[in-house]
Symmetry: C2
């Protein structure tokens, strides 16, 4: 089941309709990397069809979220960011605070330790989010020998 089918199924289930705009926004979204803002998605969609308005993009990225195709990424600041959620296994992020590079990873030891925390407090797990910050190798090197 690919993303388009997921969306169609979701729509049919609740009497909603598939439209040209929806399909274009989905395509644009799928073609972009994770951490997409509504603004950037709007720009991308606008190139495919300049008749699509911002509000439609906002409305649909939210719809995709409800349909399980997108997920909001945690943010400190600035506009809301979305990432792909379908056939994208759960993962955590390792971000460079200098250049912004993002590595997505999954670490068994961390997942295991998290389960232990849930058990310790008697919570029933339903998901988590983790982001590690640091300097990527390139930036760390540049940092040590500025402009040699």
């Amino acid at each position: 089941m690919d993303e388009r089918q997921v969306l169609e199924h979701y729509l049919k289930e609740r009497g909603l309709k598939m439209t040209k705009a929806r399909l274009l926004i989905l395509e644009a979204f799928l073609g972009m990397e994770s951490h997409v803002t509504a603004e950037r998605l709007y720009e991308a969609v606008h190139k495919l069809d300049d008749g699509i308005g911002q509000a439609t993009v906002f409305r649909n990225i939210r719809l995709f979220t409800d349909a399980g195709l997108a997920r909001e990424a945690c943010r400190d600041d600035g506009p809301r960011q979305y990432e792909h959620a379908w056939r994208h296994a759960h993962h955590d992020h390792l971000s460079c605070i200098q250049c912004g590079a993002v590595i997505e990873f999954v670490d068994g030891a961390i997942e295991t330790a998290q389960q232990a925390v849930y058990k310790k407090y008697g919570y029933v797990p339903s998901g988590h989010r983790m982001e590690l910050f640091g300097l990527c190798p390139d930036c760390a090197a540049r940092h040590n020998s500025p402009q040699t």
Copy 2:
């Protein structure tokens, strides 16, 4: 060194001034729990001195962040949230998705595993953020036997 001294030191260091408003906002902030929004802080400060404006609260909570007294909490939505950062060891969050209860914890195994991830990708660590979601014991119980 308590919070007030930290602030005074920070201010002196850069030729800034300690004002009544600053002090009141700091007091209000210290008296509140973590995950304080500017709005709620404003309300609290307003009770102490109704001559203090919103802008001043916004300006100062940001100042506190720069001074290391506060830290922005990760959010999906809604207004920005701040938590205490001084003499509050790093910790992670375990939140109940039903009632919103938040447990702050530190887990050695997780911290160790994170270091391993940094090493694996060659990143220089600078911090991280993690939030686990689930149902707290109370909500889980209520969930299994709704209104018995």
